[in-house]
Subunit: 428 residues, 2 copies
């Protein structure tokens, strides 16, 4: 196998140019590792004239990515455009139909059309890999699909949206409100054009749904991901959580139980001293748990030109080396449609409420929790501010449904005022 592997790269944005940079800087190193030369043959991008900082005149240009995907002189179609519909989807399908392997960084496309695209790839005998779609430079798809292939996976967790983690850790360190840090992040260019993709948990939810499919051999089921963004997190929650020894993270958790597949991308409390609790700024972290290996933690840059291009190149070199495996680790036709379970695994909860200064107020709250089978692990009441006193409760493990019933019963006590917040505590 000394024939060169010929790439067509669709998209010359941050990631595409990162790939070009690696290809131009490290040709000999890549050839040695791949066992054959790896070449960029053709590229496609919307704007052709733009200066992108690197010489591109050695490559054939296509304005239409579908035309690029069908070129007879490429072996691998590298899709780094993004978008779940339109050109990215059309070109990916065209590449597979034309007999090309595909390397994709497109989490949205795969979260929404992954089952169909993987099945097409496998029916055509082609490989579709997507290391760059999840957690940037962290080789987590490889770790899960190959490195932990001997394990029954018991849980997958991750902080996989750097912008959200930046916002939450900056709120804490600078004592700023969500709104203030959100504007700061937007000004710094940390947020997507539609920021809801970040702060609403959608982008991270896409990634979680892909990890779930590999971990549990289940069909990609992004619509079943319970999504809750970070927009409702207040600086008080962050401070009170810290007081109790926790940090708040937008945490993805996937777990398969007898009730089905639970996929959540929601704000959770994690122990401040745990690896997840200590994760600051825009870094990503994925925690993989298996019955043999125990807990593996992977940490690295979740975005950016270099890290994402590094992940793309990992897939490219795998293909050059002749490594071929199904997109999600087992054939797409064998993936099982699991029923969606919502918070089926019990957990401790953090509950914050405002209690009025009335005799027996706390007893009323405690009774409602008890009536719903919720026992209290730790409780802290702060001083009254004239109107009400903040009360923090950390419960023992309980079901989400019990917490919701208790919260619904609180207003009738007439001692709880304002918004009551309940956040799951994910144990590590």
């Amino acid at each position: 196998m000394t024939q060169p592997l010929r790439l067509g790269i669709a998209g010359l944005g941050t990631v595409g140019m990162g790939v070009i940079r690696i290809m131009q800087n490290h040709g000999a190193m890549l050839a040695a590792r791949a066992g054959r030369p790896v070449q960029v043959v053709a590229v496609s991008a919307r704007a052709t004239g733009k200066d992108r900082g690197l010489p591109l005149d050695g490559y054939a240009w296509e304005t239409d990515p579908v035309a690029l995907a069908r070129r007879s002189d490429i072996d691998v179609f590298v899709e780094v455009m993004g978008g779940s519909e339109g050109p990215a989807r059309d070109a990916t399908l065209a590449a597979l139909e034309a007999g090309k392997d595909v390397v994709s960084a497109n989490k949205a496309l795969l979260a929404i059309h992954g089952n169909e695209i993987a099945a097409k790839a496998e029916a055509a005998g082609r490989v579709l890999r997507f290391e760059a779609a999840v957690a940037g430079g962290i080789p987590v798809i490889k770790a899960l699909t190959e490195g932990l292939a001997g394990n029954q996976i018991t849980r997958v967790m991750g902080v996989m949206n750097g912008s959200c983690n930046y916002i939450l850790t900056r709120m804490e360190s600078a004592g700023l409100t969500y709104e203030e840090v959100f504007e700061e992040a937007r000004a710094l260019g940390y947020l997507e054009a539609d920021p809801q993709l970040d702060v609403g948990g959608i982008d991270a939810g896409h990634k979680l749904s892909l990890l779930s499919a590999i971990a549990f051999g289940s069909k990609v089921d992004f619509p079943a991901v319970e999504l809750e963004g970070i927009g409702a997190i207040t600086i008080e929650d962050i401070r009170h959580a810290a007081d109790m020894g926790y940090r708040i993270k937008l945490l993805g958790v996937a777990q398969l139980s007898g009730r089905g597949l639970e996929q959540r991308m929601t704000p959770c409390l994690v122990p401040a001293a745990s690896p997840l609790g200590q994760l600051e700024g825009g870094t990503n972290m994925v925690v993989l748990e298996g019955d043999a290996v125990g807990q593996i933690v992977l940490r690295g840059a979740g975005a950016g030109s270099g890290p994402t291009a590094s992940a793309v190149m990992s897939d490219v070199i795998d293909i050059a080396r002749g490594t071929r495996l199904p997109t999600f680790g087992i054939p797409a036709t064998s993936l099982v449609a699991q029923p969606a379970a919502r918070s089926a695994v019990p957990a401790p909860y953090y509950i914050r409420m405002q209690l009025e200064d009335k005799p027996g107020a706390l007893a009323k709250v405690a009774r409602i929790l008890g009536d719903n089978g919720i026992s209290i692990d730790r409780m802290r009441q702060y001083g009254h501010n004239g109107v009400a006193a903040p009360v923090l409760i950390v419960t023992h493990k309980t079901m989400r449904s019990a917490v919701e019933l208790a919260l619904a019963a609180l207003p009738a006590t007439a001692v709880v005022t304002g918004q009551t917040v309940a956040l799951r505590i994910e144990t590590l």
Copy 2:
């Protein structure tokens, strides 16, 4: 490829039985992931009658691992016996000669004979994989060889001996001496029969030499690893380092510079707030740095039946899936013999000395450092204990050679008493 992949397992100790357990518990899952059944056909062990907790009567038995390696009914020889010479080496070579692929957990064998064995495997068209030899369950060989294949690796670091990390963190948390915790660890069975393999850094040095070969495309060169164990670390060093914001770790570092390949497995200071600084107990951590990806941190169990067997199974399933790549990522014949560099990369140093209560004592020390081109970043002098005062110095980046010259010049000042300690500070 629906032919079963047939394994012969040499060694039925902790790791071997971990592999058997996974094979017996997860046959269908492994077949789905591998795309074909994976079977244990034959095993070998010294003691045949022993109850090992799982049924073994379905497997053919060999008392001689070389005979196992040559059996015509196995495809993959799994070597989980250990030892750099004798049966492990003979059987591994016999397996390759007989046309078997080999999965090895044997760091000592590969650190000492890896170049020769990899060359034999590749000349015979066989695959030799060793995920289990480094950092137990952490899929670090895969991350480095495949996941980061698009990177020029700039540095590899790791805490890869759980026993040493247990001893160092326990000394700090319990305020015990090295000797006390050493005896405790021995009683708990945390140490090898020859504890020098652990506390002398030899075991971890073996692992580092294997990572170096992959990272830098260099020949495995274990004899060039600068080894320094943890036996000289005192509880005072640990406390003083903590005072300055550091933790002491037995840290492996490999780095290629213009002067050659530097490989160190020595006690170092790392920032207490860094992922390496926060690593407690027997857990392992490997830090991989590449020009595109930046810094990737991997954390997990570095030993034990399940984690190590998980790593073995990763290699087995790779082989079942048809993944074939050279042992160290590029052909063994292409690995370069790099000159060994000793501490060629400048770093800050932590220096602890005992200063006598004489006028101008500190000035004399400061002058010697200055004369050797060493500038002081931070300095702390503690109260006199009647005889001398402990002085801690954190230098700016300097060369090891300068520190050694300065240390050699200190006795002539007649103000420094006792043992002066200098430890490198590895920045993250």
